[in-house]
Amino acid sequence: MAERKSGAILINPKDNVAIAIAHLKKGEKVVARGEGVELEVELLDAIPFGHKFAIVSMAPGTKVLKYGEVIGETTAEVVPGQHVHTHNIRGLRGQLPS
């Protein structure tokens, strides 16, 4: 079988978001590759190049991990394949009380 083209990268195995390395379409099944990890996710949103999408379900207030480190927390329920960005996560550092 031909190798499936990877459209996303999982930087660290601990991460709960993957990074699109192409402009990905809504409804597309995309393979996110990381070190020793490969998983297929069906996208619920269009994901622009360089943007993040969830690979697991996250309740509001869940720590979002990229590089295996905390980049913020979810402000809403997030399910796999959803775009993860400023509309549904917030930073925890240098953040004014909302």
């Binding site: 990268i9 360089g50 990229k66 980049i71 913020g72 960005h85 930073g91 550092r93 953040q95 004014l96």
Partner: protein, 384 residues
């Protein structure tokens, strides 16, 4: 490993041999510019600072930056141009630069009796300096004489994914050869500081970094600024929070131990990896590192930037292949080949390091070829 550069009397080594015409105050800018215009190849620094600094710390930061700029090893000779009554006293700048042993001339407009006399004297002394500079030849020096400024700006996701890790590889190689790398942009360390503190050379250095980050975070909050208010280009490029940006930014520093944390435009006292407290504004950050002695800068960008520095080569690297195609005339290294051609981060890092060495030897970067300058001093209220 060796390169060919210009030996300075203070033991430092320049990779360029500029005649710098340095204004000490906005009131002297026009005279400084006219002097430089008349002298083939001279570089002029004109700026908005030098007087009206009611806060001594701010005045001292301007003074330190100007002295540091004139003292940079890439400057072979310096003409300091002042008005005469400003709070950043011109004599202190000329004396500060002269401590390096390089030729320095001071032109004070009020002492010379006006614009025409000041320009005339500046051009006359500058002519002689140009002749002397042209006689200097490059000699072989050890790479340990090189201080590299690490900069990123117009970041997007590819910065942390590709360009910054590749620059980290290059920085580690330079440090392995005894050189020094300066990581800058304090607000863009917030959220990634624990990774640097973990590899600090001593508990004191780790604490100095953590204290600086805490002060920076508190200062932003105290004025109602939100650190996660990223630039629109960062957000469009996929970065969501300050932590997201910072964790990518700190990768420029590779894996070397952190040796020292220094203030804006201060000179490192250690070799190896240094953190300098600079703002996230690229031009102010580069100015601070060059005033601290960096002879060369590598600048990673996701969105693309033409930025350069008047006295130091700035190598531009992007991890975004579309940005490289869009702004190839401004960007030296296409690290986006990791995404499109199967190049590895390690390979790109080695390529950046090899380019650093060639540029130290005289190869011109794209920002130099296009004549890009850029000079800005950060206000002390923004320094930690």
């Amino acid at each position: 490993m060796e390169f060919k550069g210009y030996a300075r009397p203070d033991g430092s080594v320049g990779i360029r041999n500029h005649l710098l015409v340095l204004s000490t105050v906005a009131c002297a800018n026009d005279v400084a510019q006219r002097i430089a215009y008349q002298l083939n190849g001279a570089v002029c620094i004109a700026h908005e600072h030098g007087c009206g600094h009611p806060v001594p710390r701010d005045r001292d930061q301007v003074r330190r930056t100007l002295i540091g700029y004139g003292s940079n090893p890439n400057v072979g000779a310096c003409i300091v141009v002042g008005l005469g009554c400003e709070s950043v006293v011109p004599d202190t700048i000329a004396d500060g630069v002269a401590k390096t042993g390089k030729p320095v001339e001071l032109i004070v407009i009020q002492k010379e009796g006006g614009t025409i006399n000041a320009i005339s004297k500046g051009v006359r002394v500058g002519q002689k300096m140009l002749v002397d500079l042209a006689k200097q030849e490059r000699e072989t020096h050890d790479l340990s004489k090189i201080t590299l400024g690490l900069e990123c700006g117009g970041s997007d996701t590819t910065s942390g994914l590709i360009a910054n890790p590749a620059l980290g590889v290059a920085s580690d190689l330079l440090i392995a050869h005894g050189g020094t790398s300066i990581l800058s942009e304090t607000p863009e360390i917030v959220g990634g500081e624990h990774l640097l503190a973990r590899r600090a050379a001593s508990p004191e250095v780790a604490q100095a970094l953590l204290d600086l980050i805490k002060r920076t975070e508190e200062r932003f909050l105290s004025i109602g600024a939100n650190l996660s208010n990223l630039a629109p280009g960062n957000v469009e490029g996929g970065l969501s929070t300050v932590e997201d940006k910072s964790l990518g930014c700190v990768l420029k520093a590779g894996s070397a131990p952190l040796q020292e944390v220094i203030g804006y435009a201060c000179k490192p006292t250690k070799r190896g990896l240094i953190v300098m407290d600079t703002p996230g504004y690229d031009i102010e950050s580069i100015t601070g590192m060059v005033a601290g002695g960096a002879q060369i800068v590598v600048f990673t960008t996701g969105r693309g930037t033409p930025a350069g520095c008047p006295i130091a080569p700035v190598i531009k690297v992007t991890g975004n292949p579309a940005t490289y195609r869009n702004m190839e005339e401004n960007i030296d290294v296409n690290a986006g080949r990791v995404l499109e051609d199967g190049a590895t981060i390690q390979e790109i890092g080695q390529e950046i390091f090899d380019l650093i060495v060639r540029v130290c030897n005289r190869e011109m970067v794209k920002a130099e070829r296009l004549g890009y300058g850029g000079f800005a001093i950060t206000r002390a209220a923004w320094s930690g």
